[in-house]
Symmetry: C2
Subunit: 184 residues, 2 copies
């Protein structure tokens, strides 16, 4: 198994972080991997906003948890309370992906490049769609302004990055999801 | 730069293939990388159908080109004619990703794992949404039946894989798409 296949095989979604910000050099390497992603017609319909202000991340976290706690279905809120009560798991850095409408597939590609780049550098990471919670609707307007969402751009997804607290393991891959259509 | 970052940096979308099918061992390694992808809530809303029947790929290719040639806007048709007249660039293998509705982001993640796994093994590859053309609508029904689309599953995207004809180069990354939100 080559190194890239090993990184893919051993990658896991990290849901507990500790310590400060990873080295700037690593953050920049991950950012570069993000913009090296392929996209339909090479339109690159993304913007990458790297939030390293932990106070700002914590503000979004608190607002997101407040929104979840007020929802009729509290299962998501309870799930995060069971994981330590933090929507962003105490991560010191968020790679926020802004997208143009209708480009979720491209956004997924970018999020995986960020994830694998982080994994290759030994950093914990997790693709986190929950960042959309505090950024949505009227209450999210001031966050969107502070982040600087350009007109017509939307929240795509985010990837949290930092030093993993503890060690995680990947899911067992479901090989039953693979089949072959061969010449018979 | 580590090996994974190098694969990400040097990866390019291959639009010309030659020769036969890559070794089965490599196809299987790529398939495994596909199902090792992360997904929202670990739902893994995908199925991977690996089409290695070149005759079947050529049938879909011809039908796709027929559909494109009949469209009012012939720019897509002309683009493929300018690239050799083949929708699938003579690729011997198609990783077809079926998805559940509304899971484009997960589908993008899988397509990138397939792409990077192929790149790490020295194989040409390109994410190819055009495979949706012959699979769509009434005319696509027989293809969908032969492939075995389960009820409720849709075309996500595809990744073509094979031996590259010639050598390609990656796009220059657009570093202007990156910005930082730092504590000031």
């Amino acid at each position: 198994m080559n190194e890239t296949l090993r990184v893919i095989a051993e990658r896991y979604s990290c849901r507990a972080y500790e310590g400060g910000l990873p080295e700037r050099e690593k953050i920049e390497a991950i950012a570069k991997a993000a913009v090296q992603s392929p996209s339909g017609m090479n339109r690159q319909p993304w913007q990458i906003v790297i939030i390293t202000d932990k106070g700002f991340i914590d503000e979004m976290d608190a607002e997101g948890m407040r929104i979840l706690s007020g929802m009729e279905d509290r299962s998501t809120y309870e799930r995060f309370m069971g994981r330590g009560g933090k929507l962003f798991y105490n991560a010191p850095c968020m790679f926020l992906i802004l997208k143009q409408p209708g480009t979720d597939l491209d956004c997924g590609i970018v999020s995986e490049n960020i994830s694998l780049a982080a994994a290759s550098l030994g950093l914990g990471h997790v693709i986190c769609g929950m960042a959309g919670v505090p950024l949505s609707g009227d209450t999210g307007k001031s966050f969107r302004q502070r982040i600087g969402f350009p007109e017509g751009w939307e929240f795509g997804t985010s990837v949290l990055v930092g030093f993993a607290k503890g060690v995680g393991a990947p899911h067992a891959p479901d090989m039953a999801k693979i089949r072959y259509l061969e010449k018979v």
